[in-house]
Amino acid sequence: MSDVPGDLRYSKSHEWVRVNDDGTVTTGITDHAQGLLGDLVFVELPEVDHEVEAEEACAVVESVKAASDVYAPIAGTVVEVNEELNDAPEAVNQDPYGAGWLMRLQPSSVEDVERLMSPDEYQEYIESE
């Protein structure tokens, strides 16, 4: 059973979003997504200051099975990326909501987060998939 923390929002393409106190949001891929991908061997992250549109492919996660795009769950500007993943992509598998975070965005509009799925909705979504 995949872990779906109750304090996050979720996208259909399996990214999670956490709103931080400073108004930025942190995102990564969900436990369900990492489980489907299998052990990651490589993570490619965007440049800081890169502006992303919602649903734009902005990072790549690669496992021995497949390379998959990661999509920006909302529009914004990249303010920080998780450099640790360059040497330790396995953090995404081990701790997808913690040490395995991918990037921090300054959202164009924080309200966009509300349009993402709630934990219950996401749980239902992955069960129906």
Partner: protein, 482 residues
């Protein structure tokens, strides 16, 4: 054991080694090496036996059923290889004048003609050295066509999300933005989404038929019309020609450019690791842009067409004719089959696939598209087994090795979770297919009874389950002594 581990200092192949050290005093001192190269020091018999044993450990079409989806691992007549190695072909220097080697040029010319006939295209260029390079040539021609008309607003190539990864990669390499078109649950391209996506930015679409999902694209005429009406060109990924060979022609469907993988359909196995050949066929409007060289016949002699005769050509993609050996094999194969033989390829490739598909379904496997007919291949999904028994497509693939079968393609296409893409090809007997069904049935029973057996497979091969993750994370390709 590696050949280096057989090595003993000072051991030489005594009989054949020259008695005296060869002198190298005519080489500049700065280029001479100071140490001896670290070559294995073994006897002749050790070398022969070592490599013979290694070759016996291989899985190959000559030794095993090899249903590697999308690779068309079928019987390739020995005659194709033998005749492609005739001295007049093998020993011809590529810079020799066309007058010396009219026979070889005639073969290439006729191959162009036969591929034109079988695809319904106006002209064919043989030079691309693989499918991916054929795609590159095709999209580069689309670009050259729009450029020549100063139609510069077209900066997007449409690619269905089921496409082989080389499609979006090709479009990107040619400087285009990739716009993905979703696939419906039944395996067809989402035509409504396509209709919404086309417009004045559309340079073209790259469509694969039979698609990578093991189904035929049913609304192809409609798709072709939508893209053409928007001013875009139609690219046909014909990598999997086996299923339609001699039956339907992309040219008749209105396509502007197609690439074929000769190293699938025409007597070179794709899963062999290369070399390959990915000729491109084009409609009339793309003909001036074709890659060179091309062989032409002026009524008297076979001649090369180069940049001189084709100033608008996208240019050269490789040295001379690309992988000429593969082209000659394909030529012999096409001549051996003839028109009727090609029909039979498609008929038996699809018959075998549909037979195997039904039997596996009866054996309890889930099909990705149970309502669709198979092309020359089909997809089984182990999503249910993964959920219920914690048995993955990889576990089944590895266990098949224990039963003496090369595994099907795993985890491709990406759209289908836990998938096996199975391509039996036209050259397998029914008994062979039945044997495979039996092995798959037993594996399914094992999965229910003792999943651990599958998790640890293979059990009978020289190496057990490899740690692919560690291999990818800590890439280390060099053997080092001690």
């Amino acid at each position: 054991m590696l050949i280096f581990e057989h090595s003993r200092p000072g051991r030489r192949a005594g009989v054949q080694a020259p008695a005296a050290e060869a002198s190298a005093d005519d080489l500049p001192a700065g280029l001479l090496r100071e140490d001896r190269p670290a070559l294995p020091e073994v006897s002749e018999m050790q070398a022969v036996r070592h490599y013979t044993r290694l070759s016996q450990k291989n899985f190959s079409i000559d030794t095993h059923f090899y249903p590697l989806g999308s690779c068309t691992m079928k019987y390739n007549p020995r005659a194709c290889n033998t005749l492609a190695m005739l001295p007049g072909i093998l020993a011809r220097h590529p810079l020799a004048p066309a007058s010396e080697g009219q026979g070889a040029l005639a073969c290439l010319y006729e191959l162009q003609e036969m591929l034109k006939e079988v695809t319904g295209m106006k002209a064919v260029s043989l030079t691309p050295a693989a499918g991916a390079q054929g795609e590159f040539a095709g999209v580069a021609m689309i670009r050259a066509y729009h450029d020549a008309r100063n139609d510069d607003a077209r900066d997007e190539i449409l690619v269905p999300d089921a496409a082989h990864g080389t499609n979006p990669a090709t479009a990107t390499m040619c400087g285009y933005k990739v716009r993905e078109i979703p696939t419906l649950d039944n395996g067809d391209v989402d035509v409504d989404a396509l209709r919404e996506a086309v417009g004045e930015h559309t340079a073209g679409i790259m469509l694969t038929n039979p698609s990578t999902l093991g189904v035929f694209e049913r609304r192809i005429k409609e798709i072709a019309d939508i893209v053409h009406q928007a001013g875009g060109l139609l690219y046909y990924d014909g990598a999997n020609l086996n299923a339609i060979l001699g039956k339907v022609r992309p040219g008749d469907m209105g396509f502007d450019v197609i690439h074929m993988n000769l190293h699938k359909t025409f007597s070179t196995p794709h899963g062999g690791g290369g070399p390959g050949a990915g000729p491109v066929g084009v409609s009339e409007r793309l003909e001036p842009f074709m890659p060179v060289p091309i062989v032409d016949y002026d009524g008297d002699e076979y001649v090369w067409l180069t940049e001189k005769e084709r100033p608008q050509s996208i240019g050269r993609l490789s040295a001379f004719m690309g992988n000429a050996g593969v082209l000659f094999r394909a030529y012999v194969y096409a001549r051996l089959l003839g028109r009727e033989g090609m029909h039979r390829v498609a008929e038996f490739a699809t018959l075998n696939a549909n037979y195997l598909m039904k039997r596996l379904q009866q054996a309890g496997f889930d099909l990705a598209f149970p309502d669709r007919r198979a092309t020359h291949e089909f997809i089984v999904t182990l999503k249910r087994q993964m959920k219920e028994l914690n048995v993955s497509a990889m576990d089944v693939a590895k266990r098949l090795l224990d039963y003496g079968y090369h595994a099907p393609t795993t985890y491709f296409p990406l759209l289908v979770p836990e998938c096996l893409l199975i391509e039996p090809t036209e050259t397998e007997s029914r008994e062979e297919l039945d044997g495979f069904v039996e092995a798959m049935t037993r594996i399914l029973e094992e999965a229910a009874g003792d999943a651990g057996l599958l998790h640890e497979a293979p059990h009978t091969l020289p190496v057990r389950r490899l740690d692919e993750v560690r291999a990818a994370r800590e890439l280390d390709l060099r053997w080092k002594a001690g």
